[in-house]
Symmetry: C2
Subunit: 342 residues, 2 copies
């Protein structure tokens, strides 16, 4: 059973063999199925674009594998526009694994009704998964103290930029690593980072040492690999490394693969380091409190919201391809439809 409503979709059509290209996707036009009991019909408003999307195309992650021909998977903020015996009012705003399409039918348990505390885009960025990842990873795992130095990689990304701003807010020195001088200027001039270093520069090592004259107390690791090794060598006694899943977890099919990390456990011992992995879901019970704090800091301009909104569902493939190449500044998302009329 279908409805008269047409649903534009982007399918995961072909497994990419190397770097992701637009060939992996196909546009489709389907009818929206009729609702069964216990289901809601969602209209997609904002679609999250994440490195994780790429990993899903390779299978073998924490998520079910994505198969060729299916609607491309993605996390979204949606409006409930119809429902059948779910108790969820039409007009509710929800988060859901809606996929890359204009409409989706979801079981009621597949959606979470959102309390709306700010612009919807904020719920995708600072008040969403990436902002909360910064919040819990820095404040609960890294635990910077006043006057300490916090180093963060992928610093212009959705999580990294919030890490640096929170570090400043806690009285720490914030130093970012990105692959672009333009991004670095933005971090320093617009977000108040104390310094930022380009890992693509041949003088990266020297630049980093100059940017962290007192060493590093907290390293928020979004990338692993050689940058993690370099950070290990710069850590101070009693330093903490918050290992974040954002890139190193999602963008590999085997988390144990890749080059080995030197200095483990040698430097971990001599410097009494704590390296700790975390996933934001582990802190779910404390999300509401964290969101309240973040809302306050946004209101007081202690945290600037950095968003990178790409307009139109059809541009989702290029938005993801660009994200993987490091094009984005702040949280990248695709606007699929307008905010609800209020």
């Amino acid at each position: 059973m279908t409805t008269a409503l047409r649903n534009r979709q982007i399918l995961y059509a072909h497994r990419p063999t190397g770097t992701l290209t637009a060939d992996a996707f196909e546009v489709a036009d389907a009818a929206v199925p009729s609702l069964q009991e216990g289901e809601v019909l969602c209209r997609t408003i904002l679609l999250s674009i994440d490195a994780a999307n790429r990993a899903w195309m390779q299978g073998r992650t924490y998520r079910d594998e994505l198969h060729e021909g299916e609607v491309m998977a993605g996390f979204a903020i949606c409006e409930v526009i119809d429902e059948r015996d779910t108790g969820i009012p039409v007009g509710s705003l929800v988060t859901a694994e809606a996929g890359w399409q204009e409409y989706s039918v979801q079981p009621a348990r597949g959606v979470n009704v959102m309390p709306v505390l700010g612009p919807l885009t904020h719920h995708m960025s600072v008040l969403g998964i990436t902002g909360l990842t910064a919040y819990f990873g820095l404040l609960r795992v890294g635990r910077p103290r006043t006057g300490e130095t916090v180093l963060v990689s992928a610093a212009a990304g959705a999580t990294g930029n919030v890490v640096g701003q929170l570090a400043r807010l806690k009285g720490a020195r914030a130093v970012g690593i990105t692959g672009s001088d333009t991004k670095n200027a933005f971090l320093i001039d617009e977000l108040g980072f104390d310094a930022a270093v380009n890992y693509r520069s041949p003088a990266f090592g020297d630049d980093l040492r100059r940017a962290c004259p007192d060493g590093v107390d907290v390293y928020f690791d979004n990338v692993g690999g050689p940058t993690l090794e370099r950070a290990l060598r710069m850590m101070n006694m009693g330093g903490r490394i918050a290992c974040c899943g954002a890139v190193s977890q999602y963008d590999t099919s085997d988390p144990a693969a890749g080059g080995g990390i030197h200095g483990v456990p040698g430097l971990v011992v001599t410097k009494r380091l704590r390296m700790e992995g975390f996933i934001v879901i582990d802190f779910a019970a404390d999300w509401p409190e964290a969101v309240q704090q973040l809302v306050g800091w946004i209101a007081s301009s202690d945290i600037k919201v950095v968003e990178d909104v790409v307009d139109g569902l059809d541009r989702a493939p290029e938005a993801l391809i660009g994200l993987l190449a490091g094009d984005n500044v702040g949280k990248r998302m695709v606007r699929v439809g307008p905010d609800p009329e209020s």
Copy 2:
């Protein structure tokens, strides 16, 4: 100024180029110098034999480099047999960096008067640095809970054997890794380890999985390298790795050298692991309390004291060479002189 007292010494004579051999040492016979104000004359009773001794011969460790021709350095329990205006009574038992010799002259600040709570050998083993390393590394860093699995490498060593026994005492499953089936039988039959695995066996990986059917919750790492990598793959969600300096720190001149560790940060993130380095000195304020507890557990036979005492100063070189080859079971020490008459 010297005294009539003769002092047998073992000198660090030649820097070893590869595996340590007896050629590196020479026996000497010196006069004992007269005491200056503020000095004590110590008679060496027990000499600690540690992997660290070997590292000192290469320089570049946390300790001052040892130079050829000097008395070989070593930690000892001594009796004060003379003193000059130090306030330390003759007859006091002290710990000191006395070196490999029968007598040593020390500034008063170079010795620590020991409260004697058990046989002197216990103060070198379970109540000494290695036992305290096991205590703080396991209980403060690893923090095993009842029913969890604790894996420890170098499990028959001075620290490792105590780690396993403390794990059992805390209601955890204790699994040891050593390089010898004989040691493993000893761990299981005499010390109550639940299982022990020989890393030299071709079936090591399978053996280890069988020994840890529920995975590993706490890994007490004494060795780093491939064994650490293997443990990383076996860790459970929320697992903890206590990185101990005993071998990986002391036995290398550059703690950042050696092979890289795969699985960092990938597995650290996906499994939410905490890897934490520690050095027992960091817990010095809590040593007296820990020693009291350990004394109690020895008295109740909850902890068996495993010691490997080699008799005679002249055998110190072979004691160290053997330790580096993994010959010892429990804490290796050299008896240089008799306990004081009581």
